[in-house]
């Protein structure tokens, strides 16, 4: 198989570095994106369509990062883009909101099991921070219970003390507990009576670098009861999983009901909108919290979200993605084992996490991912990967071919691997 090189990407990166901090900042950059080695990865895109993207050097990739989640129907989905074009003719960022905002809120209330209302912003972090503020306003309590390794955005409260720009005051109200350890939550509630406003968690535990963990049987039901008994708001950060497990919400998928649930990523197939949905009992408090932004009521992303959610419901997108993910991950594990590699798959199959376990420092995994990328399958090393609805069986077969060759190359480099 031909392997890719990236001279144009590298040139653009040098140009970017002169005028942009880090060249490409954040999770799309080679540093935080863990492009290892960076020479194996493209940095800049020329175009994208369906399940594929083409970099500036003309290399084609099947994209298993899906823009880190937003690409849920396929890039440039015709139905979503048609809705966008129609709304653009009417208006987008305007002095008064359009009725599209109400249409989207109604759709979410009809779709998401726990939702009695919806509030819109732009990024996942906007709505996780808003959820925390609502919980504090509703309970008049300061503290939040969070799970160690959980990610809720980049607001100062969601980061760690010791990180640049973070002060003790930013994180002093956070209590960190271990995932699936209900006794930790009970202990925290006992230790801080009347002080805990909120439990915030992802529907299942999907930190970076670590195997993902599903909720143990009965875990969420016990957490729900604990929160209800102690007047604590249960806020679910469904930013990453939302609409990839169940259009009715990931709380519904795991058999419980959240008080607040945060959506972003897959909600509008790449158009910029996030949503916080909540129960009726928190609607008035949500009104009372001062929270807004210049572009939060723009109509074009609302139109995109309506088209995306409608289509996901029509085609049962989450089920489709779970099935495709299962087929792919079973195949990856199988081709890995053929060459003596233990590829551990964890989490839900529509946004699975994977890791080669043969060594204790992830080097083999990084080498294998690099070889896949060089051959046109874009994985990243230590984050969830994502399935989208545009992926076909042929795409999965192609991915498995590439994965097999990549395993073979790494095996040749490391003859000590058994099998």
């Amino acid at each position: 198989m031909k392997t890719y090189t990236y001279p144009q990407s590298q040139e653009l990166f040098k140009r970017a570095g002169k005028v942009i901090p880090s060249g490409i900042y954040g999770h799309l950059g080679p540093s935080q994106g863990c492009y290892i080695p960076t020479q194996a990865f493209p940095f800049f895109l020329e175009r994208a369509q369906g399940a594929y993207m083409w970099d500036v050097d003309g290399n084609r990739f099947i994209d298993y990062m899906c823009a880190y989640g937003p690409n849920v129907l396929g890039y440039n989905d015709p139905d979503v883009d048609q809705a966008v074009r129609e709304q653009m003719q009417i208006g987008n960022c305007t002095t008064l909101p359009t009725a599209k905002m109400i249409e989207l809120a109604e759709l979410l209330v009809d779709t998401v099991d726990s939702a009695d209302w919806a509030f819109f912003a732009k990024n996942g972090g906007d709505v996780t921070s808003f959820a925390l503020m609502i919980a504090r306003a509703a309970t008049d309590r300061p503290k939040a219970i969070l799970f160690k390794g959980g990610y809720h955005g980049v607001a100062p409260w969601a980061q760690k003390l010791g990180y640049p720009g973070i002060t003790e005051a930013d994180t002093e109200n956070n209590i960190y507990v271990r995932w699936n350890h209900f006794e930790d939550l009970e202990q925290a509630v006992q230790q801080y009576p009347g002080q805990i406003a909120c439990v915030m968690a992802t529907p299942y535990h999907h930190p970076i670098f670590e195997d993902n963990q599903l909720p143990e049987y009965g875990f969420w039901q016990k957490v729900r009861k604990l929160c209800t008994d102690h007047g604590i708001v249960l806020a679910i950060d469904d930013v990453r999983c939302g609409f990839r497990l169940d259009t009715r919400g990931s709380d519904h998928y795991y058999g419980f009901k959240a008080d607040l649930i945060c959506f972003c990523k897959a909600i509008a197939n790449g158009w910029n909108v996030s949503a916080l949905c909540g129960i009726d009992g928190l609607k008035e408090v949500a009104s009372s919290v001062m929270y807004t932004g210049s572009y939060w009521l723009s109509a074009v992303p609302f139109a995109a979200a309506i088209a995306t959610i409608t289509k996901l419901k029509q085609i049962d997108g989450p089920q489709t993605m779970l099935e495709k993910g299962k087929k792919l991950t079973d195949g990856l594990r199988e081709v890995g084992s053929k060459y003596g590699f233990d590829l551990k798959i964890s989490g839900e199959s529509s946004l699975w996490f994977m890791r080669i376990t043969n060594d204790d420092n992830l080097v083999l995994h990084q080498e294998w991912v690099a070889e896949c990328v060089r051959r046109g399958v874009f994985f990243t090393n230590h984050h969830n990967q994502f399935i989208n609805c545009a992926m076909t069986d042929a795409d999965i077969s192609f991915t498995l071919e590439v994965a097999e060759e990549a395993f073979k190359v790494v095996k040749e480099r490391h003859p000590e691997i058994g099998g």
């Binding site: 590298q10 990166f13 040098k14 570095g17 901090p21 880090s22 060249g23 490409i24 900042y25 950059g29 080679p30 540093s31 863990c34 290892i36 080695p37 960076t38 020479q39 940095f43 760690k160 003390l161 010791g162 990180y163 640049p164 670098f209 204790d360 420092n361 992830l362 080097v363 990084q366 230590h382």
Partner: protein, 252 residues
């Protein structure tokens, strides 16, 4: 916020420790110590002591509580030691008065050579050989300072507690290497590469290492261009870098 205790630890176990390498890399320093046999103990209140031994044309610095030395230099407080490093106070010799001449003459010249490299002029940096020595000593200072911050500074301890047990190799391609080992949130640095490292950080050249450590190159951009390569358990490096970022504040 600069903690004087941590600063004294860095000054002793990272800055002054460079005397070992200075005597190997700089001809003038190398010549000064020829034929000398003297072991100097630095006893600074509240911080771990060190003995610097000049023998057989080499300098060896050891963090130790041993009192087996020719000369003992007492510092009443970490502040006292830090002021000595800045050239504003003198140590109190409590043992080895016969060797005071070495301290006043030879050691003072060595200290001047060390300052010459660690506080370089533009002229020094234009000279390739001198710039190389400057980078090596700067790198050793920075990386040996990491455990001192990790084990003593409150924020450093917090970031160190997030580093998984194991070893991080840090090397300059075709140049020196050190490794830092984490065990239950405590860090230790040693020269050379470890064979069982769990994370790796490789500067592609002495110039890249120099640029990143002197703040003229952005490490994140260097990762993108491949000038700085990282691999393995990246969170170990990520948290280590947060400690490394504190070093400049202590050496300012």
């Amino acid at each position: 916020m600069v903690d004087e205790n941590v600063k004294a630890c860095i000054n002793l176990h990272a800055v002054l420790r460079n005397m070992e390498d200075l005597c190997e890399l700089d001809k003038e320093a190398h010549d000064i110590i020829q034929g000398k046999n003297v072991a100097i103990r630095f006893s600074v209140k509240n911080i771990p002591a060190a003995i610097m031994t000049f023998n057989s044309g080499k300098c060896i610095m050891e963090k130790t509580e041993s009192r087996n030395c020719h000369m003992n230099l007492l510092f009443k407080s970490p502040e006292h030691f830090n002021l000595m490093i800045e050239g504003k106070r003198n140590p109190i010799p409590t043992k080895g008065f016969r060797r005071i001449g070495f301290l006043k003459r030879d050691f003072a010249r060595l200290a001047d050579r060390l300052s010459y490299y660690l506080k370089p002029t533009h002229e020094l940096l234009r000279n390739k050989d001198s710039a190389r020595i400057n980078t090596i000593l700067t790198a050793y200072t920075a990386f040996f300072a990491i455990p001192e911050i990790a084990n003593n500074d409150p924020l450093g301890k917090l970031n160190a507690s997030r580093i998984a047990d194991g070893t991080i190799n840090i090397e300059i391609d075709q140049g020196p290497a050190i490794h830092i080992t984490a065990r239950s949130g405590r860090l230790e640095a040693a020269k050379g590469k470890a064979s069982n490292a769990r994370a790796f950080m490789v500067f592609d050249s002495i110039d890249t290492a120099s640029g990143i450590l002197n703040g003229t190159l952005d490490s994140y951009s260097c990762i993108g261009t491949g000038q700085l390569a990282i691999r393995g358990l990246v969170p170990m490096i990520d948290n280590l870098n947060k400690i490394l970022a504190q070093v400049a504040g202590y050496l300012r």
